[in-house]
Amino acid sequence: MLKKFLYLQWKQFRRSSYFEAALAIKILMVLGILYFGGIAILAGVGGYFILRKAIPDVDPILSLNRFMIYWWLFDLLIRYFIQQVPVLNIKPLMIIPVKRNQVVKFLLGKTALSFFNILPLLFFVPFSIVLTVKGYNPLYVLSWFVGVLSIILFNNFAIFLINKTKTYFFIIIGAVSVLIALQYYGIFDITQYAAIFFHSLYTTPIFLIIPIGLAVGLCYANYKYYMDNFYIDGAVSKKTEKVQSLDLNFVDRFGKTAPFLKNDIKMILRNARPKQVLIMSFFFLFYGLIFYTQEIYREMPAVLAFASMFVTGGFLLSFGQLVPSWDSEYYKLMMSQNIPYREYLKSKLILMIFAVSVSTVLSLPYLYFGWDIYKLILAGASFNIGLNSFITLYGGALNRVPVELNVKAKAFQNTNGFNVTQLLISIPKIIGPMVIFYIPYYFIDFDAGIIILALSGLLGLIFQNQFLNIIENLYQKQKYQTIAAFGEKK
């Protein structure tokens, strides 16, 4: 039986969209996997030495154990966003003569091999090996490693239960932010206490009982849940959501664009995928922290200009690149109705501009890094509103990837939308603000760079109609191709 399951699994894997993808994407994905895997392995091998150097007086394993609590919480968060519950595949197996406990066991076993479990192992295995080589007691290292492995599996099984409610997600997010804040201001340092637990896995192997027990317990809870709900109205069923009624009458002031705008707002609020984009774009706000905090980038204002564009452009870029894909599920309807492309596009534009404006306000705390930085953010926002919006919409029209609205994006799924045209279209998005800023900066000064970057946004306002015409023509030109592409099975 197991052999048959594995055979099905192999077919599913071989025939998944990853392999059906074009060669360029395959290469890119392999590179991506090698890159992340490579980084994890390198960090695992070098981790010991880096920690010894960074915190010289403390035993590296003790230093690592201090940060494990954050690794644990972030792992849960990332899994919540991306890891899928593999239930839906049960349905065809329900009525064939296979014992249901075999099916459930296989499903649960399969999840243990998920990408999210393998990635941390790529770090922890080499790290443990280095520890052993460096003369740590192999038995204790093994005990610690088994503890970590149990925690990984714990997360793996926990996420399937957590995934059913949003409350847990906000609890985790809240916990992470509070803990970081408390530690930052020196009020309460959770890492010290957490370190005791993680370190005891190393010093006192008897503590292994806790993580192993938790992992086994959760595995059993999952097993029981799926056994009890092995019916099409149980675990496999899609939940019928309660309707959120929205009062969107205030949108009517947008005139002819209003019907589309109302639809788009509902689309974003009522579907899993666009909600994911919404949350992701919130994280873009923190992009600046990577660049503004480091001295080297202070000398490279062109890079800062690029970062500033990203701070306010998160939603614009990630939402805009999938216009019109967002409407792919009912594109035939749109194309057989009397839809003015202009109003349709304007509705998306309004949303994107609104998001940039909100992000600009939300990025006010960046004033902490000085007025110059905030001026850059403002100029970046202007570039986003005026130019980037049109470039992104143009790129989106070339995208033609069907989007399943109410299904979360899987890991690497974004690469589905990747092709050479996308690459070309992303060049002006990334290089654009850098060049527009750098040339006047180089020849005149910093403020000139900012003024020119901000003025570039005005271009969009002035040539709005021309830009919209170009995009409209593109929509019309590839109408049949787009309908066909959106009609394909995902």
């Binding site: 019928t240 009522r270 009912y330 035939k332 309807l333 057989s336 009397n338 309908i483």
Partner: protein, 231 residues
């Protein structure tokens, strides 16, 4: 109203449809019958300019559908679920279509009231999104939405499939009324020979992309069709 001339569609040089000439006068109730793969949906998609014809053209109300979009205001259709917006409630969907076709909210409400029987209390104010409705109920929504704004041409692909018997009978009445009262041209396809002969004044049989029969419906038509399909 609609004139189909020399239309053909090929995929990778395999011809799936080749229709020499069909003239559909205004107000006709036109039925399309054929086995799976006969080209029914392809013909409807060509009528709605959702796919590009390999040769020939279709004129609807003097407008060549693949050249201009001016046929859209007087045409409506329900082909499959991709004509529904899953995250809207039925009401929101009707209002949205209404807005696109220039019909105000109160007018949409008034029209929906006429279809209370047809909905059978399972559509309106159910607080459910369209994606959570059953296939049959989704179909009811799609069909009624296609009637909003008194279009002159209505295209329905297999409207009877997935509907319960009561609704099928009600739908037949709705379709018959449409052509009698309002001079509307209705095009439907169906696998159900009985329903299609009941409702349509003219039936065209497609086989492997070609017109093999073009019948004005009489008492004998059902028998004739049954004989044809049992060969």
């Amino acid at each position: 109203m609609i004139s189909i001339s020399n239309i053909s569609k090929s995929y990778n040089s395999v011809e799936v449809l080749n229709v020499e000439n069909i003239e559909i006068p205004k107000g006709q109730n036109f039925g399309l019958v054929g086995n799976n793969g006969a080209g029914k949906t392809t013909l409807f998609s060509l009528l709605l300019d959702l796919i590009k014809p390999t040769t020939g053209e279709i004129t609807s109300g003097e407008i060549v559908v693949s050249k201009s979009e001016d046929w859209k205001p007087f045409t409506s259709a329900f082909i499959d679920e991709s004509f529904l917006i899953g995250y809207l409630t039925p009401e929101e969907y009707f209002y949205f279509i209404g807005e696109l076709r220039g019909v105000s909210k109160p007018d949409v409400d008034e029209m929906l009231a006429e279809f209370e029987d047809f909905f059978h209390g399972e559509i309106l104010s159910q607080k459910k999104y369209l994606r959570d409705l059953s296939k049959g109920n989704q179909k009811k929504v799609g069909i009624v939405a296609a009637l909003i704004g008194t279009p002159e041409v209505i295209i329905l692909d297999e409207p009877f499939a997935n509907l319960d018997p009561t609704t099928q009978i009600r739908l037949k009445k709705i379709i018959s009324d449409l052509t009698q009262q309002k001079q509307t041209t209705v095009l439907i396809s169906s696998h159900d020979l009985m329903h299609v002969t009941d409702v349509c004044k003219r039936i065209v049989v497609l086989e492997k992309g070609k017109v093999v029969k073009d019948i004005a419906t009489t008492q004998e038509t059902l028998k004739e069709l049954e004989e044809y399909f049992s060969q």
